[in-house]
């Protein structure tokens, strides 16, 4: 029998500490839509998505009502378009992005991921067509998210692609300049991208996946912060135990929702992503968890250690609670989407360099960081190269989602709205790295022994 105190505690988590399921993401394989005719390919993709996902939103809403837990987003990821569309005889994939956008609108979801390419070892003709289409695609669609995998611990880093990314990001920022360069918030580059990530902007349905899967992203930074606030002054063992126990409970709620969604939609359950995903709402912040551990602001000395504790113990608590854990699983540290992060930047406590250090121990990377619009392409590529190197050497996923806000300077503010939040524009080290970036070629993968 359920105890009254357990029932009260669960509702406290949902109502006061903002526990929710962040996303139910349906991964859809569209490789079987391949066709040399672009229009036929688009029609097949549209039909497959709208038929498989027609009940996604309705089912998500019903589950939320049954269990009384909000399910914030319902989303879709598809096979990387550069793979699925490689048979298409055309020189632009913008039409495919528009098709994805229409399909997303038809089924009532807010984001669809998979306008993607995996180029860690080389760029195919199709990859190049996709990369050349990214900026126009992102500026002429609303719901489409794009990602490029530039490196991996097994293949090294494709520096030709890293160089290209500087110009893609700048062009996207320019084409969406009337909306504070919003297009860049829907574009992310990865090292060691995962194939079953349910979170945007980096979600895609990897080529190793089945035909269709339900992947669920949990959340609940507010719950972890509250639990830690009740343990002020306790030692590190207690700190770690508290994070683990809380992550366990949050993940169990996610597992229940995932199983239920899988059953009701008749689609296999893929994974639970254990990530703590913040929102700009006060109390739903990963940064404030680190503050609850004893930091005045994120960025203070001790921040990297605190984040390492959080990230590792979220995983340790979460893996026991779910039969399949995957995705990015850890703690996200986006700047504009996290109230505590925004405050830390405003207080000059957090710099881009400290964020880079934090990405060595968090679950992803440099995320939702607004930088001055006049930052050069090579500087952006340099920032990306650094982040890719961290991922490649340390066998972890790293990412960069950076927004050079057209026409704005460091210290000014940019508002993206909704879950994307707002951010102060951060200073960038502008010393030149163009001679390094312009070399071209690949960085070989690291040796997997002699690890120090």
């Amino acid at each position: 029998m359920i105890s009254m105190s357990e029932a009260r505690k669960t509702n406290e988590m949902i109502l006061e500490e903002k526990l929710d399921v962040r996303t139910i993401t349906m991964g859809i394989n569209i490789m079987d839509c391949a066709d040399s005719n672009l229009k036929t390919f688009c029609n097949k993709v549209y039909d497959k998505i709208t038929s498989l996902a027609q009940n996604l939103v309705k089912t998500g809403d019903e589950i939320a009502l049954d269990f009384g837990i909000p399910i914030v987003n319902k989303r879709i990821s598809v096979t990387p378009i550069a793979i699925a569309a490689s048979a298409c005889d055309c020189d632009s994939y913008v039409e495919i992005a528009r098709t994805l956008d229409r399909a997303a609108m038809e089924v009532g979801i807010n984001f669809i991921g998979g306008f993607s390419a995996l180029v860690q070892k080389g760029i195919t003709k199709s990859d190049r067509t996709l990369i050349n289409s990214v900026s126009e695609a992102l500026s002429t669609t609303e719901r489409v998210c794009s990602s490029i995998n530039l490196g991996s611990s097994r293949s090294g880093i494709d520096m030709n692609a890293v160089k290209l990314m500087g110009s893609v990001i700048k062009e996207t920022a320019y084409l969406t300049r009337d909306r504070d360069s919003l297009g860049c918030t829907k574009f992310v580059v990865f090292c060691n991208a995962v194939e079953d990530n349910p979170f945007m902007a980096g979600a895609f349905h990897g080529p190793g996946e089945g035909d269709c899967a339900i992947n669920v992203g949990i959340s609940g930074p507010g719950v972890v912060r509250k639990a830690l606030e009740e343990k002020q002054g306790a030692d590190f063992e207690t700190l770690c135990e508290t994070v683990k126990r809380t992550a366990f409970k949050i993940t169990r709620a996610g597992q229940l929702v995932a199983k239920e969604a899988s059953k009701r939609l008749g689609v296999p359950f893929g994974i639970i992503d254990l990530s703590l995903a913040p929102t700009p709402v006060l109390g739903d912040s990963v940064a404030m968890i680190l503050q609850a551990m004893g930091l005045e602001y994120v960025g203070a000395p001790g921040t990297t250690a605190a984040l390492a504790i959080l990230n590792d113990n979220v995983k340790k608590g979460g893996v026991m609670a779910s039969s399949f854990v995957g995705g990015l699983s850890g703690a996200f540290i986006p700047v504009s989407e996290d109230y505590g992060m925004i405050k830390a930047v405003e207080a000059n406590a957090l710099t881009l360099e400290k964020l880079e250090a934090m990405t060595c121990v968090c679950s992803v990377g440099l995320d939702m960081i607004a930088i001055p619009g006049d930052t050069s392409e090579s500087t952006i590529s340099g920032i990306i190269a650094d982040e890719m190197a961290i991922g490649m050497i340390n066998n972890k996923t790293t990412a960069v989602r950076i927004i050079p806000v057209h026409g704005k300077k460091a210290g000014e503010k940019v508002v993206f709205g909704g879950l994307l939040g707002y951010a102060p524009i951060m200073e960038v080290n502008n010393y030149d790295c163009s001679a390094f970036i312009n070399r071209g070629g690949r960085i070989p993968p690291p040796i997997h022994s002699f690890k120090n």
């Binding site: 029998m1 009254m4 009260r8 509702n11 049954d66 269990f67 009384g68 409970k249 709620a253 229940l256």
Partner: protein, 89 residues
């Protein structure tokens, strides 16, 4: 099939009558009740059996939410799995 009904808000005459009346109307059996008054706030949790529910669960939760709004309270109904899954392996 069990569900948990939570009622929270400023105390007033007839809360129990309203809630229990609605549950009876929907053929829902009350299994356990814990109720307390904190200052002037009414706080109640009920474990109920919804196996015989004569409408959909979605309609049941929406109706209770509306009933709560009518009398200035928060009333929630949730299937028991959410509580079980979080505290039992």
């Amino acid at each position: 099939m069990k569900a948990i009904v939570t009622v929270l808000g400023k105390d007033r005459v007839g809360i129990m009558a309203k809630v229990c009346g609605y549950l009876a109307e929907k053929n829902v059996n009350i299994l356990d009740v814990s109720q307390t008054i904190i200052k002037e706030y009414f706080d109640m949790i009920m474990i109920v059996d919804v196996s015989g529910l004569n409408c959909s669960f979605a309609e049941f939760t929406t109706d209770l939410d509306l009933l709560g709004k009518e009398i200035g309270l928060m009333i929630r109904a949730q299937k028991e799995e959410i509580f079980k899954s979080m505290y039992r392996v």
